[in-house]
Every structure is written in C-alpha cells, then in structure tokens.
C-alpha cells in the first residue's frame, strides 16, 4: 500500500470503505487455494485424456471419500492443536469388527452400530488420555495406533473377514442421483463439519482452544470436554470410513488403512489448517483433499512410472504449501 500520507492521519479509524476493502482482501486470501485447485483442474482437463469425464470424476471422488470424511474431523483435531495418528488403525478395526459382528448377529445394523461405538470409544480413550492425563497427543495416538491395529489383527486372526449378509454391500456401492453412497456420505461430512466449525459454539471453541488453551479455559470454554469430544467424533467418523471401506471391498481387512493418517493430515495441512492450532477452514480442507486425489489420479492417467510418482507427490506437496505460504507472508508483512 503506497497511499498518500493523508491516510496516515487517520490510520486506524478506517472509513467504512476501507474496512470493506480490507475484508474483501481477507476473503480473497481465504479462498486463494480454491483458485489453485480450479486452475489445476482446468489444466488437467485440457491436457490429460479421460481426466474430464464423468466416470473419472466419480472415480476420483470415490478414491478420496475415506480420506475426505476423516479429514473433516482431523481438521478439528489439528485446529485444537492436537494430532491423531490412530485413525488408520481405527478404519481397519472398525471394518473388521463390523464384518465379524454382522456375521455373528446376522444384522448389518448391529454390526455398523457396534463398529461406530468402538470407534467412538477409541476416540474417547485418546481424548481422555490427552486431555486429562495431559500426555502428548502424538505419543498417545501413536500408542493407540499400535494397540488398535493389534486388536484388528487379533479379532480377525489376521484374515480378511467376509460378510455373508449381502445387503451390507449397498452401503459402499449403491448409487443415488448418479453418485455412489460413499461420496454422498463424504459430502455430508463436509457440510456438517463445515457448519459445525463456522456456525456453532463447538467449532469456535475448538479454534479458541487451538489458539490459546489457557485463555480459552479462563474464558469459560470447557476445554477438556471439547477436546474429548473432538477425538470421540474423530474416532466415530474414522469407524464410519472403515465400515464404508469394508462395504466397498466387501470384507473387513485388518491391514487396511496403513499410512491413512499421514494422508489425512497432509490433506488438512495442504488445505491451510495450521499445525499450531487456531486456524482452519472447511473449504481449504476440501480443496486439500481434492488436490491430493487429483494429482494421484492424473498421474495414474498419464501412466507416470510408479517410482516417479513419489517425486511428483512430494513436489506437489511442497509447491502447494509454498504458494499458501507466500500468500500468508504478504498478509503478515
């Protein structure tokens, strides 16, 4: 800004006009990542064969559906300055459990309910240990990651557990207005958690806790309760992702979801969620998830050698974060 010195005379008391302009800038910044994604999408559509086709776009959406669901809750987790490595294991455990229980009881509904409850329980334990015993979230969830993975193996004897009740498969493969159910569920997650983040006291409190937990506590935020809720919901949604995955692949597999947690966290960070807490946006996370999925999809369509895909993935991650960073720098200088 190189305005005439006149502005210096009333620097802070901005006019209504100036306030509006500053706000506009902030919005532009908030949505710059979306711009990046749109450009990426257009370029790929123009250059990569089959990329811009309904089948492919649906496939892309399906491929990120599990990550997308859990990214919504991971966003809360990171926004409150926490961290959760256990989600991948929970995905596997929930899938296995759902298959086992459905088979044993003959009821898919019971299977799903038990899995979701188990996921919520895992999340609750994470949250309680972290909030109440004040153990570092990284270590706590690294530990539960091991433990829950172990449970998945133990429960399944290391074997894929097939589901006998075929109605279970609808969850993963049925279509509704042209889109498969998992995609709808993911979209629903984005809407629900977007609203939760931006429009409810729960979301605002999450951000406040991430910004400064001590201050939030003194301002009357039920810090421990919110943190536990965040983990509990995350466990629940991870279990939901696990159930849907099991339904998609028609069996519960104890070794599914390995490396899932890092993908989810990457998507969030790509989407501008700060690991230092206090900053998050649902549109950012959506775009983060989409960028990750799109890049992977396009690389496969372009038949890029697997080994070179590693380079591309790493490179994209860096570039996307760098662009975001440059934007922030402009903002804070």
């Amino acid at each position: 800004m190189t305005e005439p010195n006149a502005a210096a005379i009333v620097p802070q008391r901005d006019t209504r006009e100036e306030r509006r302009r500053a706000l506009l800038w902030q919005i532009v910044d908030d949505y710059s990542l979306i711009g990046i994604f749109v450009v990426l999408f257009v370029v790929l559509s123009a250059t990569v064969r089959y990329f811009f086709s309904w089948d492919n776009v649906v496939g892309l959406a399906l491929s990120v559906s599990q990550i997308g669901m859990v990214a919504c809750t991971m966003m809360f987790c990171l926004a409150s300055r926490d961290f959760d490595l256990s989600v991948g294991s929970t995905v596997a455990f929930a899938g296995v459990l759902c298959a086992i229980v459905s088979n044993a009881t003959g009821s898919v509904a019971i299977g799903v309910a038990v899995s979701l409850a188990a996921g919520a329980l895992v999340g609750f334990v994470n949250g309680a240990v972290i909030a109440k015993l004040k153990i570092n979230a990284l270590i706590t969830t690294l530990a539960t990651m091991e433990i829950v993975r172990g449970l998945a193996f133990i429960a399944s004897h290391g074997q894929a557990v097939g589901v006998t009740n075929e109605s279970f498969f609808a969850l993963g493969s049925a279509e509704f207005i042209g889109l498969p159910v998992p995609v709808w569920v993911t979209l629903a997650c984005f809407v629900v958690f977007g609203v939760l983040l931006n429009k409810t006291a729960y979301g605002r409190n999450t951000l406040a806790i991430g910004g400064n937990p001590d201050a939030a506590r003194l301002a009357g935020v039920a810090v421990d309760r919110v943190r536990i809720a965040i983990f509990l919901i995350q466990g629940l949604i991870a279990a939901l992702a696990g159930v849907i995955l099991a339904s998609r692949i028609t069996s519960g597999q104890p070794n599914s979801g390995e490396g899932f947690e890092l993908n989810v966290i990457s998507a969030c960070v790509l989407g501008g969620v700060s690991l230092m807490g206090g900053r998050a946006s649902i549109s950012g996370v959506l775009v983060g998830v989409l960028i990750m999925g799109t890049v992977q999809n396009a690389m496969s369509l372009m038949n890029i050698d697997t080994f070179y895909q590693y380079l591309v993935r790493g490179g994209i991650l860096l570039v996307a974060v760098l662009v975001d960073q440059l934007k922030n720098r402009r903002q804070s200088r």
Binding site: A8, P11, T200, A201, A208, A215, V221, G278
Partner: protein, 510 residues
C-alpha cells in the same frame, strides 16, 4: 559526560504500514548521546513499531535510521546488535528452559576450542551482575523466576551488550519497586557513560524522573518534541498524547452501594494455604493492594475456579459457586480478567470479535447450538467503538493489536456478559496509556453503578487509592488490613502491605 550537541541516533521520515494499519507515517526524531529520551503515546501510537525498526526486526517502508550521521540498513536483529543497538522489547523475549547466564549471553557464549567456557562465562556474569548491583542467581533457569525477575534479566541482557544505543520498551510494567529503583540507577549510570537511550513508559512520573527529552506519538505521527522536560507539566504531556484534557485521570465519584454480592469465606488454595475471607457489595469497587507475590492473583484465581480450591466457600448473591469450575462462576455472573494478557487473556490468532464474544455467545445461541453472527458483529462493533479499540476491523487477529488495545478487548469480553454480577480484574491497566486508563476506570464505575461488585488488583498504589471505594491489603497470602476510601493514605496502606519487620529487612537489603 559526553553531551555533545550532535545526535547519536536519528530517525528520519520513517513510515511503516501493516495490512489495514498505517503504524507509522513520516516520523522522525533525534536522540543525543548521554541522554534518556522519553517516548510517549497512546496504545497503538506506534512506539513499539519504531523500536522494532531500530532493533532490525522490521524494515521500514519509508525513511531511514542514522547513527552518528551514518545511515543504517538493518536487515535483521543481528545487524542492529552489530551496530551497537540493544532493544528491550515490550514482549519479553527469553528462553525459559535456559539459565540466567545462558540467557544473558544468548548468541555470544564465550567458547574455547569450540567448547563453551562455562567457568569463565559464570565468573564474568557474576562479576557483572555484582557490579550492576543486581541480585540474580546466574544458574537459575528463567522459568523458575518471577515475571519481575525475568524482566530484570532482559534488561541486564541488553545492558551487558555494552551497546551505545539502548531502547527500553515499557521495562517497568512488571517490576517491583525495588527492581524499578535498581533499573533507574542503572539507566542513570549508563547515561553518565554517554549512552543514548530511549525510554518508553505509560507512567508519566517515571518519564519525569528519568528523561531529559521526550517525543510524543499519536496515531503513527509525531505530535510533539521536547528538548527538555524542564517546566513541562504533566497536563501538557497528557493533552498532547490524548488530544484532549484529562484533568483528573481517576475521575472518581461516590456511588450508592447495595447488599453483599460477593462473599468469600475461608477460601484457600495450593499457593495460598491460609484461608481468606472478604465481602464485596453491589456497586462497590474494592482495590486489592500488595507487593509482588503477595498472593492476590492466586486467591482471585482460586475464587474464580481457575486454580484448585482446597477449602472455603464463594457465594454470589448468596448462591454458592462450585469450586475449581470456571464455567459455574461465569454462569453466576462472576468473571475474572487475568494479569498475563498474552498467556492467559487473548487468543492471539483469533479475531477481535471472537475474543470479545467467546463467553457471552452462549446466551445468544440459535437453537442452543448455532452462533448468532449478526448479534456478535454488533456486540464487537459496540465495544470497539465504546472502548475505542484501535483495529482496522473486527476480524483482525487480536495479536496484531497493540497491547493496550488487546487489554480493552479482553475487558470487553466480560462487559458483554448479560448478567454480570462480580468482576475481578487483575492489573487491568498494566501497559495501558493514560487516556485508556481513564476510559477503563469509567467502565468500572459504570459497571459498579449498575450494581456490579468490582474487585481490582493493582500494584500501582495511586491507582488503588484513586479508584477504590475500599482497599484491602494482602501480604504473604493473608489479608492484613482494610481501609475505607476516606481513611486510606499511601503510608498506612503501604505499611499494611509490608510483612512484619519489613522495615529492618528493607534496610538490610537496600
């Protein structure tokens, strides 16, 4: 003394703009060697920004800094240090896990064959501390020290750099009186050695006591320069700073008082093991005075529920508050503004509006869940206007506001409470300019007039005497005396705040 006429340090046409905020515009002034130059201005006037430019932390958009006539181009703090500049920042910058010695020698530990020469470093540090007359254990870790001691370390760190130019940005905001005296002595010594110094404070008596010359900023511009403070009155300074007359900064008028609102009965906590009891009436402002570490903050935190209550009862309008449960206190209309603004008050990366609405929003939720954005915007704008919080808009991250404005926003958080009954403020005017102090006092009066019971902790005796209806003194975790406004004097209040046998100890330590 090397009081040459030519300036040692000169700021020329400095301008600095942050997104949405022009912090400085075409500002310049000069500082002579062997002088202490006071820098005054309201919160957000741009003082700290200027010091950060001097310290190499910010690069100005326009203008330049010259030392002994030589134009400097600092690109980093290291550049400024190399040029002989030392800045003590308003926000303390120490490393909590390291020792006093290591903090003092941060960035320049003496080494031998690449290894830190601890023995030499320790000896040197001891020697210098002794020479300066500062009583600090070089081996203690910073996190073990009180805030005041930490601030002392910061000051000593800057002095030990043997810089020719020294800037102190509100160095006394958390110093005890003894430490303040030590500081003043040090500053005078340095002046005698010919250093050029800039001294920023909102306490005008300190300015008069210490400074040879002064510059006043307002809204990012220079509004006045005083080559000497001889014959300049306090009122002149205030008038130039605030842009209006404030004849009586306290502006106290008596109020009617109602029944007992807050009743504290035998309350104790870990750090204040002895039970404490007192009452506050509706419409009454009670000032708590004591020395640093007297336990005032601690007992208030226990009352509020921020720290664990081990015994006793707290009643608001006769209804008991659950111990160790902040939200119960808030629900009963009892709220608390902590003294450590940065650590416990603000949520830095969130907006001004969020910081104001965080608690009160629970009364305006739609369907018990959704935030009422319109209402919150209105609330935020109301307090931004009413307390004159300087911010480009309500969505600005609060960490980007100047300290005083952050304080006002935190206070607004509680003013926005629908059913406020008891307000406890801990050092509410620490680091706040005269004009804003006056505004904050007016807010307290207004609340009291509405029937709120106000407790104000303050370490500034004049403030306690000027604002309170009643004064309670504490010492070593105990209430030692109470005074009506009419019967309180500096002497008797202070005497009651001192520990038994204080006189003799004081003399011994002095």
């Amino acid at each position: 003394m090397t009081t040459s006429g030519s300036p040692r340090l000169e700021f020329r046409h400095i301008g600095k703009t942050f997104p949405g905020v022009r912090a400085l515009g075409d500002v310049g002034f000069q500082v002579r060697a062997g002088s202490v130059h006071g820098l005054l201005g309201e919160n957000g006037a741009g003082k700290s920004t200027m010091m950060k430019i001097l310290g190499g932390e910010y690069i100005p958009d326009e203008g330049e800094v010259a030392i002994d006539g030589q134009v400097q181009h600092f690109r980093s703090a290291a550049d400024a240090i190399a040029a002989g500049v030392a800045v003590i920042h308003q926000e303390l910058q120490y490393v909590p896990e390291l020792s006093v010695m290591e903090n003092l020698l941060l960035g320049r530990l003496p080494t031998r064959f690449g290894f830190v020469d601890r023995r030499r470093a320790l000896a040197w540090t001891r020697e210098r501390l002794d020479a300066l007359g500062v009583d600090l254990d070089p081996r203690a870790r910073l996190k073990q020290l009180s805030i005041g001691q930490r601030q002392m370390v910061e000051i000593v760190k800057a002095i030990l750099r043997d810089a020719t130019i020294l800037a102190l940005d509100e160095p006394t905001s958390s110093l005890s009186h003894r430490e303040t005296d030590v500081l003043f002595r040090l500053v005078r010594d340095l002046r005698a050695q010919g250093k050029a110094m800039i001294y920023i404070s909102h306490r005008l008596d300190e300015i008069f006591e210490l400074c040879d010359a002064a510059t006043i900023f307002r809204d990012g511009r220079k509004v006045a320069d005083f080559d000497t403070l001889e014959g300049v009155t306090r009122d002149t300074l205030v008038q130039r700073m605030v842009g209006r007359e404030i004849d009586d900064i306290f502006g106290y008028t008596p109020r009617a008082q109602g029944d007992v609102r807050l009743s504290v009965k035998g309350v104790a906590g870990r750090a204040v093991p002895l039970p404490v009891s007192f009452d506050v009436r509706a419409g009454e402002i009670v000032g708590f005075f004591g020395l640093v570490g007297a336990g005032r903050s601690e007992i208030m935190r226990v009352i509020y529920g921020a720290d664990r209550r081990t015994s006793g009862e707290v009643l608001v309008d006769g209804k008991p508050i659950r111990p160790s449960h902040v939200r119960d206190a808030i629900r009963h209309g009892l709220v608390f503004c902590p003294e450590d603004r940065k650590e416990e008050g603000i949520i830095g990366v969130r907006s001004v509006s969020e910081n104001i609405n965080i608690s009160a929003r629970r009364n305006h939720l739609v369907a018990g869940l959704f935030v009422n954005d319109r209402n919150e915007a209105r609330t935020a704008d109301t307090y931004i206007d009413r307390l004159r919080i300087r911010t480009p808009h309500r969505r600005q991250e609060i960490r980007l506001l100047s300290g005083g404005n952050q304080q006002k926003a935190v206070l607004s958080r509680w003013l926005a409470e629908k059913d406020l009954r008891v307000l406890i403020v801990d050092e509410p005017t620490r680091g706040i300019d005269v004009g804003a102090k006056n505004e904050i006092y007016n807010v307290l009066y207004e609340l009291a007039a509405r029937g709120v019971a106000v407790v104000m902790i303050s370490s500034e005796l004049p403030e306690v005497l000027g604002v309170s209806d009643r004064i309670v003194t504490m010492c070593r975790g105990r209430i030692t005396a109470q005074f009506d406004r009419a019967s309180a004097t500096e002497e008797n209040v202070l005497a009651a705040a001192l520990p038994e046998g204080a006189g003799s100890t004081a003399i011994r330590n002095a």
